[in-house]
Assembly symmetry: C2
Homo-oligomer: 121 residues x 2
């Protein structure tokens, strides 16, 4: 499961609030706090397999919502467009700084860079 | 309920696939096809109140997911940033077209406009 940490963290970011408190707790300890199944089991007085079951159910629940809605995929599809906008704004700024020294163009390019920076957060 | 059509259509766009087939069918007929509760009831051989219950449950289910995850809100928060980027790109293009006639700046501004247009779809 841990080889999927990046994907799981993204799912959790989108859909974590749909989990039960217990699913959320174990999921967070395992993927975000990087505890082992055995450690979580010991701290909670249940079996390693019991912890594993809770986490797998959490993963499946979130994956099912994503498979149905495709929302995470929609967000991810924005990424290359953000990168393209950011790159074009930098290039405009460079050309302006070398040739035209137009403060308005510089400021507008900065505004685009700032906005896309906020979008990429 | 119909005074909420815009908001309901957005909820449906994000979370419609999480509904049951029956919820989805009635919701779609009511909000997207603009049938009345009475018409849907007659076509399905159930009471007007029965149709209403299905639709209200669908609304509540989707609203609950949104209240927990805030995903739709996150998407909506992008809107003003897209508008800002689009406006800045248009302005750069205008300044360039009046003063500098730089084909590269024109092309870069167009690329930004196109990318933000795709994002706004």
């Amino acid at each position: 499961m841990k080889n999927q940490t990046y994907r799981m963290s993204m799912l959790y970011d989108f859909y974590g609030e749909l989990l039960t408190p217990r699913q959320r707790e174990f999921f967070d300890l395992y993927y975000n706090e990087d505890l082992s199944l055995a450690e979580i089991a010991e701290n909670n007085g249940i079996t390693r397999q019991g912890v594993r079951d809770v986490i797998v159910r959490a993963e499946n629940a979130m994956q099912e919502v994503e498979d149905k809605t495709g929302i995470m995929k929609r967000f991810q599809a924005q990424r290359p467009l953000f990168d393209e906008i950011a790159a074009a704004a930098v290039k405009i700024k460079e050309i302006n700084a070398l040739q035209y020294f137009d403060p308005q163009i510089g400021a507008l390019a900065d505004r685009i860079s700032d906005a896309v920076g906020t979008l990429k957060e």
